[in-house]
């Protein structure tokens, strides 16, 4: 922007009277700040201030109905010394890891199929849109629709029983960790497909041909050419999936029948019980953990190469 504007500004400055030139050079120095202003302001109001508020409140004291401005560490103490917190984090990370692995496999396969097997651009777009169809309904509906399907007397169990494959309904299908991960995969697979597909579409087809000419097998092409080049897409998809799962509470609550815990659910519980400072402390810790995870991912893959 500034680069392209520079020559015309310089030429007009030389023609203009001296005072105008000074004003213009001031403007030129201020302009970048003005251009960055709106975004900075938005981030300040909608991101920085709320987060600082959360951090501040996390040090406040509370009882069953009110919160008191204070500076106490009890919220963090109670949080970090409770074995339940650690177990819950472990559980949440487990959900995130399982969901990540499965969505990655699905995402990579689907994207690979779309990018390299479907030859016509029209069909690529059509099939890509087909992938997004489930997203035309709300999250909650897509989640809840699993419940009658997986239940003890649900479609799947009745089907399996009448087909003679099982005599007892499979209990683990619903209100279990299985159900939670299943719903997560269903909800978030597209977040993996899109960025990986995007990365793959940018891969120069000549590279694939060169690899083939060099005698690489199909598997070797995928492993040594496509996978490394799709890494930025994988990283972006991973960030989406991991942060979404780490912060989720409603999927875990509905699909586990309230029996499993996640950090988001813990925070939601605390908020509903008016324990804002405890919830804030929890949120701060969660934010730190997720940031560390994202930073770690960015260390492994340089996504700026792609953007």
């Amino acid at each position: 922007m500034t680069v392209s504007a520079a020559p015309s500004e310089a030429s007009s400055a030389s023609a203009a009277p001296r005072s105008g030139g000074v004003r213009r050079s001031v403007l030129r120095r201020v302009a970048p700040y003005l251009q960055a202003g709106p975004l900075a302001l938005t981030l300040l109001v909608f991101l920085l201030i709320p987060i600082l508020t959360i951090v501040a409140v996390s040090f406040w004291d509370y009882d069953s109905i009110r919160i008191y401005p204070d500076f106490v560490l009890t919220n963090y103490e109670e949080l970090l010394t409770s074995p339940v917190t650690w177990k819950t984090y472990l559980n949440t990370v487990k959900f995130a890891a399982l969901t990540w692995v499965i969505t990655l496999l699905i995402g990579f396969t689907v994207a690979y199929f779309l990018a390299f097997h479907v030859q016509s651009t029209t069909w690529q777009m059509v099939l890509f849109l087909v992938c997004t169809i489930p997203f035309w309904t709300s999250n909650i509906i897509r989640m809840i629709s699993w419940i009658p399907f997986l239940g003890r007397n649900g479609l799947l169990n009745s089907g399996l029983i009448s087909a003679g494959l099982i005599d007892q309904p499979l209990e683990f299908l619903l209100f279990s960790d299985f159900a939670v991960v299943l719903a997560f995969v269903h909800l978030y697979a597209l977040f993996m497909v899109v960025p990986i597909f995007n990365s793959m579409m940018r891969i120069d087809r000549a590279l694939v041909e060169a690899a083939r000419d060099g005698g690489a097998s199909a598997a070797q092409v995928v492993w040594n050419v496509i996978l490394p080049l799709a890494k930025p897409g994988i990283a972006i998809g991973s960030i989406f999936v991991v942060t979404l799962v780490m912060g989720d509470f409603i999927t875990v609550r509905l699909m586990s029948g309230g029996q499993s815990a996640s950090i988001g659910l813990m925070i939601a519980n605390e908020i509903s019980l008016l324990q804002y400072p405890a919830a804030a402390a929890n949120a701060v810790v969660l934010l730190a953990v997720v940031l560390i995870m994202v930073v770690a991912m960015l260390r492994i893959v340089d996504i700026r190469k792609e953007l």
Partner: protein, 438 residues
């Protein structure tokens, strides 16, 4: 508000103005609220005009936030009642944190114990409540009959009154200032699927019977769930409580240890938080024994699925709710609120609630709005002579059916404890959440 007040004497002519001025002189010491109330009894027509423009915003738990009530208010009283239904936790939260967002709080007594001390509500003058002396004595002195014992927990009468008009301190016995006007209450027990449990259920401890492994559920609202858990543990003989409604840390630990062990052994299929979740769990057969609310049992039965609200030998866990007035209400809106509350106790709503299987605070007036057969079925535990209809006109029970648990006396007379907020509330909630997360 000031506009309407200065407006009304003008429109009513000189006579009104004079008498109002005399009235003002006469009650010089009284506050503006009292003047307003003097005017309403003296000149109802003037107020009746203005009151049509009043909108009262009521919020509360789903049980009593009924659109039918709002419609009837519009019809009978002329003003608009806006209703918002939330879950119990959200109600407590909103009552305290957004006191300006509502005019009338429809809350439970245990929520009242948390909310009222925050100073966001104003007590009501019982002398302005017409049917006050007919309110069921449970809400006044805690005893259904003079000889019955006071149940454990946050019994409504313990948080039903404050010491004075501006007090936020609960009074030990009845005073002129009532925090909540009781509207609706019930005795809760376990709901079962008689077709699937396979044996008679008689005790709270049956919830943890290994025979129902993976088919039991308990509600996940800490203040209520802990009481169900306590009823279970006491019935098992595992824990002896001084007061179930106000447990010590040790009692909380012991109770939740038993529940956690059961959870880890796979006893529970799910935990529920909302009314419809409990209905779905039961009607789908995922759960065959669980903590339940009376209309949820009715909802399961309405689908043609057998469900019994099983009376248990240890007694019931009771809950009660009432209407409270927000602190910011004054003048005409406050009058409208009083009028609404008086109307609430005057029978129509009482009959409506009784027909849903709840109980109303003033029984005499509700009786006048029910048929003798309805009254005999719901309140006296007698077999229905004709089909029993829900307030919407759907058949709830066929002729010949008897209400689970029997009569009002049998059910409300056997309350073992009330939903409660304990002194160790914060500790209990933390431990409860650990149990849920375990």
């Amino acid at each position: 508000m000031t506009e309407t007040r200065t407006g009304s004497p003008l429109s009513a002519g000189t006579t009104t103005g004079v008498s109002r001025r005399t009235l003002l002189k006469g009650t010089a010491a009284a506050a503006g609220v009292a003047i307003g109330s003097g005017a309403i009894t003296g000149f109802p027509t003037i107020w009746a005009q203005n009151i049509k423009n009043v909108t009262l915003r009521q919020f509360g738990t789903g049980v009593s936030n009924l659109n039918a009530v709002a419609d009837k208010v519009k019809e009978d009283l002329g003003f608009t009642l806006q209703m918002t239904a939330l879950d119990s936790d959200a109600v407590a939260q909103r009552a305290v944190t957004q006191p300006k967002s509502y005019d009338i709080a429809d809350i439970e007594y245990w929520i009242c114990k948390k909310v009222f001390p925050a100073g966001v509500m104003q007590p009501m003058d019982v002398s302005k409540i017409k049917n006050f002396d007919k309110i069921v004595p449970i809400f006044v002195n805690g005893k259904l009959t003079p000889e019955s014992a006071v149940a454990q927990g946050t019994a409504p009468h313990t948080v039903g009154f404050v010491e004075g008009k501006d007090s936020i301190k609960f009074a030990k016995s009845a005073t002129q200032w009532m925090t909540l006007i009781p509207t609706i209450y019930n005795a809760d027990t376990l709901g079962i699927r008689p077709d699937l449990v396979g044996r008679p259920i008689s005790s709270w401890k049956d919830l943890l019977d290994p025979a129902f492994k993976g088919k039991a559920s308990i509600l996940n609202i800490p203040s209520i769930g802990i009481m169900d858990a306590a009823m279970v543990c006491e019935a098992m003989g595992e824990v002896k409580y001084g007061d179930k409604g106000n447990m010590t840390k040790e009692e909380i630990d012991k109770t939740l240890k038993i529940m956690t062990d059961a959870k880890k052994a796979g006893q529970f299929r799910a935990f529920w938080k909302t009314f419809d979740e409990s209905v779905n769990l039961m009607s789908s057969g995922e759960v065959i024994i669980q903590s339940m609310w009376s209309p949820a049992v009715a909802a399961v039965r309405a689908k043609g699925i057998p469900c019994v609200y099983q009376p248990l030998k240890e007694g019931y866990r009771a809950w009660g709710g009432g209407l409270g007035i927000a602190k910011h209400l004054s003048g005409l809106e406050l009058e409208a609120a009083y009028e609404y509350i008086n109307w609430y106790l005057s029978g129509w709503v009482g009959a409506y609630l009784n027909r849903q299987g709840y109980y109303s605070a003033v029984l005499d007036t509700a009786k006048e709005h029910m048929s003798p057969d309805e009254w005999a079925f719901w309140m006296e535990g007698q077999p229905a002579k004709t089909d029993i209809l829900s307030p919407e006109g759907k058949v709830m029970e066929k002729a010949g059916a008897v209400r689970d648990g029997g009569s009002f006396q049998d059910r409300m007379g056997r309350v073992a404890c009330w939903n409660a907020v304990m002194d160790e509330d914060r500790y209990m909630v933390r431990k409860w959440n650990e149990f849920i997360a375990a």
